[in-house]
Symmetry: C2
Subunit: 164 residues, 2 copies
DNA sequence: ATACCTGCAAACAATTTGCACAAAC
DNA sequence: GTTTGTGCAAATTGTTTGCAGGTAT
């Protein structure tokens, strides 16, 4: 009981599954599944590291075909983020950026070298929260937790990033 | 041993002590203690909640006397932040902002109602880190942890913030 | 005296908005 | 056919930079 089991094992988000899940959520939520939005989704799904809105917009230009306008890109990011399909990473490798995520209480472990992100649940902060609540008389309601380190691949290759 | 003791108890940063400490650090570090910088320091010390660069610049105008230029404000913030005298808060009450802090490994508990910030050490993440390292083969080197909740004052006054 | 610091104003970067037109249900 | 989404371009907002002159040590 000192080491709670994680409900799901730490893992990268599967891009294909993620896209399907988002499309499903859009349908159910009454959001229209349009070409521009799908393009955004597809380009996001290809990232292996945190990305910025700016970068996404630029990359969409390069992916051939018509690229969605800035407004659409920003608005789609907004949807995805507020619904929990994207999480924000602060510090670490991607100094600040979005990563694909799944709705719910999840945290992220980021490789500071290549930007690979592993999602995990089970943050085991209960004792800390209880102690702080007692010491400070706060009613603690939430938290932000992100871990940084170097993934196996990046550690083996002394300094060659493993992401492309 | 299941509940490690915090090296120092959770507490607000004392504005006076903070200002003195920063001045000392500036001296020792060879940074000049100038009027504009002192004004910035003083205005920051008065905040009881996370603040933004923008807000600081505006407030400096109102504090009477000559206010430092934008460049000075931003450059001073940069110094203070990189030396650990300011920490960044993400999410919670101050959607994003700086708070006075002390150099070293510290985390923050933020009141989502009034923005009061409590600093604490002893994040008790060792077990979690060990588990994740084993499961993911990452070498985990650092983390970001911030907690959000409502302070005693804000909880008592159903919805009246306790900060001014 | 001589670094270092400051203010200004312009450059830059990032994000938001209004609105006419187009597409989805 | 109505509602929702899109693209554009301009407006905002936030931050950085170059440089001539000023100031702390």
């Amino acid at each position: 009981m000192t080491t709670p089991e994680a409900p799901t094992p730490p893992a990268r988000v599967n891009p294909e599954a993620w896209m399907q899940a988002v499309r499903g959520a859009w349908r159910v939520g009454g959001l229209r599944v349009t070409e521009p939005r799908l393009r955004v989704l597809q380009t996001i799904a290809r990232y292996g590291a945190p990305f910025s809105a700016e970068q996404l917009y630029d990359d969409l230009s390069r992916d051939g075909g018509e690229r969605p306008g800035r407004a659409t890109v920003y608005r789609t990011l907004e949807h995805l983020h507020s619904a929990g399909w994207l999480a924000r990473i602060h510090g670490g490798a991607g100094e600040a950026g979005y990563v694909t995520s799944l709705p719910g209480h999840v945290h992220h472990l980021v490789c500071t070298s290549c930007g690979t992100v592993i999602a995990f649940a089970g943050c085991a902060l209960d004792e800390l929260v209880a102690r702080l609540a007692a010491q400070t008389d706060f009613a603690i309601e939430g938290h932000l937790l992100q871990l940084y380190g170097r993934c196996a691949t990046c550690r083996k290759a002394r300094s060659h990033p493993c992401a492309d």
